[in-house]
Symmetry: C2
Subunit: 357 residues, 2 copies
């Protein structure tokens, strides 16, 4: 694909905050945006030229999307397989591609792929039945984590198995669905690396972020994180192995565990812009959103160096109601998503705070 | 006015690139935007929640704008007086206010105001007739500049008078309209200062920019410009005098002449975000667009310090067709306006280039 000229239209499946921030970045480069999302009053639609308000796998909606958009991307990885196959039939250019999405949608396929390209993970086993789950827990040992293979996010669809005797109950609690059983990672901290790959195969990675979760949801990212050169080298090598292995196009968020002694394991990958990359908006010349637009549009990647160290903090639920205080805080760069309702735990916005030198 | 909560709607009269970049900044803070602009496919409409495609002074359009918007602002100063009076009748909150717009719309009122608040300008005289113009040119001396009092921009509506004998011909050439006759400024360079004033009366100014024009159109701004503390102090004092004098709310661009010896004169004021302030997008934590949104929404102002020195270059007409080269230039931050047609001299986008330390 030759680089898309400004004035072309970028299609985005999904209209949440990630779609919104992608749309804003696309606009800065002179692109128009069309959003496909069931909710017409979604955050991304209000900053985009067009909105198609249908289900993600609606054939008419997708046909309209393919007609309007010169390239289609995604703000979430759980895109229905039907949507992808319909887009392919319609001849729509999509990025990232079907393989990356399929890999990220299933924790077993994901970890199998990661290990195959030399990106280490915790030990894991899979199970489709209660008895299989018991066997798998035996093999991995307790305590271990049982997670549904598909559709989990922000700590949902997973539970600890403390004793072998609980394995069956946890399997039922997760809905009697295919699961992955993972050995716990004895990590000292959670890191992530935001990486991009262009259509030409060029790879660019941002400095590492250090992440802090609360109740399974990201609370804070500090980036660039303090890290030894050995850790930075490992993370960059892992990113390159993953992106090259998937023939990936776009930005990917790669969550890492740092073990005692400095070895890194990959926790999971997200084939899209990522919450732990929001710091780039105020820390880098080209943020992860513009970088993703550049990659999917066939443009060369932008620089990824940080000009400022940033602490990013998510605003969850009614925390957004502190906006008066935040608006007055000279060092708080606000990014609010325009969501109508501040449901408990919902990501309503984030703040980037420059750290003193 | 108490600060507007995120989720409120900002109305913008005008849908060009300034409206577009204001809309993008407003979205970042969680605001919705409604654009009133005759051309429905304008650059700003494609990144806004609503567009009202009527004439600027259309009573129904303005009524709809007043109904949707919690506050109304402008991307250009030549707003028809009728639009302002209709908005006032409708009870719409507007910022900046009618006085600032009226002052900036008429070069004689503007310079009279500037001198009254202690902001020095070149000597000037006014004339409504050909004979008056001859008298005025006599008083100011040749060479001098004759400009229409109203509706001039980017070097349009003005001409040099080299000899007294030409005064009448120039007056006719400018359309037999009320004019101002200005003494030439023997300036060593053109500077500008972007200043903001909040509803609470707080004033914040960005570092000075040094501007280079070609054929009356801005070509480049370098900011922060190299300038003595005496010049910076003068510029900041002038900005405060003007904004306070107008009880101004919002961002204003103030064009300055630096004379031999370091004295500053005000060339003109623009009661809006300004082309010479585009460098703030990549040079400052809070750019002029967010600053303007903050001010008109009744928020406190953000910081104005520069973290990076920037050279801003306008992309005029078909220069935008070099986008492939620009996209590949690692140090070129692109801002493209999504205009459909690259007419000669038209502002199609700009590039901010970080300067080496």
């Amino acid at each position: 694909m030759s680089p898309l000229p400004p004035g072309s239209t970028l299609g985005i499946l999904g209209g949440g905050q990630l779609g919104r921030m992608l749309a804003l970045a696309a606009a800065r480069l002179g692109f128009d945006v069309v959003i496909l999302e069931p909710e017409p009053d979604c955050p991304a639609a209000r900053v985009s030229a067009h909105v198609i308000a249908t289900a993600y796998d609606d054939p008419e909606g997708l046909a309209e999307l393919a007609r309007l958009a010169h390239v289609v991307t995604f703000e979430f990885e759980n895109v229905p397989a039907k949507a992808l196959s319909l887009l392919a039939e319609l001849g729509a250019e999509t990025a990232p591609g079907a393989r990356a999405l399929a890999t990220a949608q299933d924790r077993v396929i994901e970890k199998t792929f990661l290990n195959a390209v030399g990106a280490p993970t915790v030990a894991f086993a899979e199970a489709d039945t209660a008895s299989g789950a018991i066997e798998a827990v035996k093999r991995i040992g307790v305590p271990c984590l049982m997670k549904t293979r598909r559709d989990g996010y922000d700590g949902k669809g997973q539970a600890w198995v403390e004793h072998l005797a609980n394995a069956e109950a946890v399997f039922h609690r997760l809905g009697d669905r295919p699961v992955i059983i993972e050995a716990p990672a004895a990590f000292v901290r959670e890191l992530s690396i935001i990486a991009a790959r262009s259509r030409a195969g060029e790879i660019a990675v941002y400095p590492i972020g250090e992440n802090h979760h609360e109740n399974g949801v990201l609370r804070r990212t500090l980036a660039p994180a303090t890290a030894s050169q050995a850790i930075i080298d490992q993370a960059e090598r892992i990113a390159a192995q993953i992106l090259t292995g998937l023939n990936y196009v776009g930005v990917m968020g790669i969550e890492l565990f740092e073990l005692e002694g400095g070895r890194l394991l990959v926790n999971e990958i997200a084939p899209r812009v990522h919450n732990t990359g929001h710091w780039t908006q105020d820390g880098c010349e080209v943020d992860q959103f513009e970088q993703h637009v550049r990659a999917v549009a066939g443009w060369p990647l932008g620089p990824t160096r940080a000009h400022t160290q940033i602490e990013m903090e998510n605003l969850l639920g009614d925390e957004v109601e502190t906006w008066v205080k935040l608006a007055a805080e000279s060092d708080a760069r606000l990014h609010l998503y325009g969501k109508r309702e501040a449901k408990a735990g919902r990501k309503m916005g984030h703040i980037n705070r420059p750290m003193p030198d």
